[in-house]
């Protein structure tokens, strides 16, 4: 069903979006795509020097995943604003212990419509979002605003 201002209301939920488990390969791919080569995100020897056990995902990759969740529900062109606050680090899957580490690396994005209003002559909604991993640990929260036909 196409999203319009007539068929969406305050309290409606955005369809839940579950990512693939994030791997180190995904982090390297995002580093190359974005240009963010902070060694924190790919160099295991570097992170040990600063006292971490594992490389961690780019916060902006988690925001990118949240963006994927949004555009899988509402067309990209409707977006007017997208805000995220980063709350926690995300460690990728360890392939030598995949069963125990997949949950921490899988991102679930949920959202709820909290406001419906008119602005700049457009019918807009504001939807709050949260991204957590499958263990329930929060990665980011924020909101987006879309203008609907």
């Amino acid at each position: 069903m196409n999203l319009t201002s007539d068929n969406i209301n305050i309290g409606d939920l955005m369809p839940e979006y579950t990512s693939a488990p994030i791997t180190r390969s995904h982090l390297v791919r995002y580093a190359g795509a974005s240009g963010d080569f902070n060694p924190l995100h790919h160099d295991e020897t570097f992170v040990r020097v600063i006292g971490l056990n594992n490389v961690i995902a780019h916060g902006m990759l988690i925001m990118g995943i949240a963006g994927e969740a949004i555009v899988s529900w509402t067309p990209h062109k409707y977006l007017r604003k997208f805000h995220s606050r980063f709350l926690g680090m995300t460690e990728p899957v360890d392939w030598n212990d995949a069963e125990n580490t997949k949950k921490r690396a899988t991102i679930v994005v949920t959202g709820k419509v909290v406001k419906k209003y008119e602005e700049n002559g457009e019918k807009r909604i504001r939807c709050n979002i949260v991204a957590k991993d499958l263990t329930g640990s929060r990665k980011l929260d924020g909101f987006f605003i879309v203008a609907l036909p």
Binding site: S19, A20, I22, H26, R29, Y30, G32, A33, S34, G35, D36, F37, N38, I50, G59, M60, L61, M63, G64, I65, G67, E68, I70, V71, P75, H76, K77, L79, R80, K81, F82, H83, S84, R85, F86
Partner: protein, 156 residues
Amino acid sequence: MADKSKIGMEFPPFTMVVEKTKIAEFAAAVALKDSKEEIDLIYYDEDAAKKAGYEGIPVPLTFMTSCFFWTDGLMGIVKALGFDLEKLLHSEEEYEYLGQIYAGDVITRKMKVVDMYERGQKDRPGRFAEVTVLETELINQRGELVTKVRSTMIER
């Protein structure tokens, strides 16, 4: 500790072409896919994008943060503003989409320091942070302000 005399400081403007192949690469990266064949067609097929109501191939929602890394990069900002890298965290990011950015557009980036302040109380470690807010304007080849980005960095 950030140098508060830098409030209002503008970074030198930077102009770049939005590359089509970079858009597909980025779209695959945030979708956690291995190839562009697995992503939404609008991010690499111009005809599909036009059918979906776009004038060209649009950039993914968070794509434009990349231009930060193609220019000064994090270390450029750290040096310019006097940040303590070991304490630095990216706290918030906000995009305001005033228009669309398409493959082939020539985008000029204007970034400035809009605020620096302290949050919390110094005698309560863990709750105290020094906050720096950067605002970036992205302007296309027709002089239209198409996206505004507000980035909040904290040192704690």
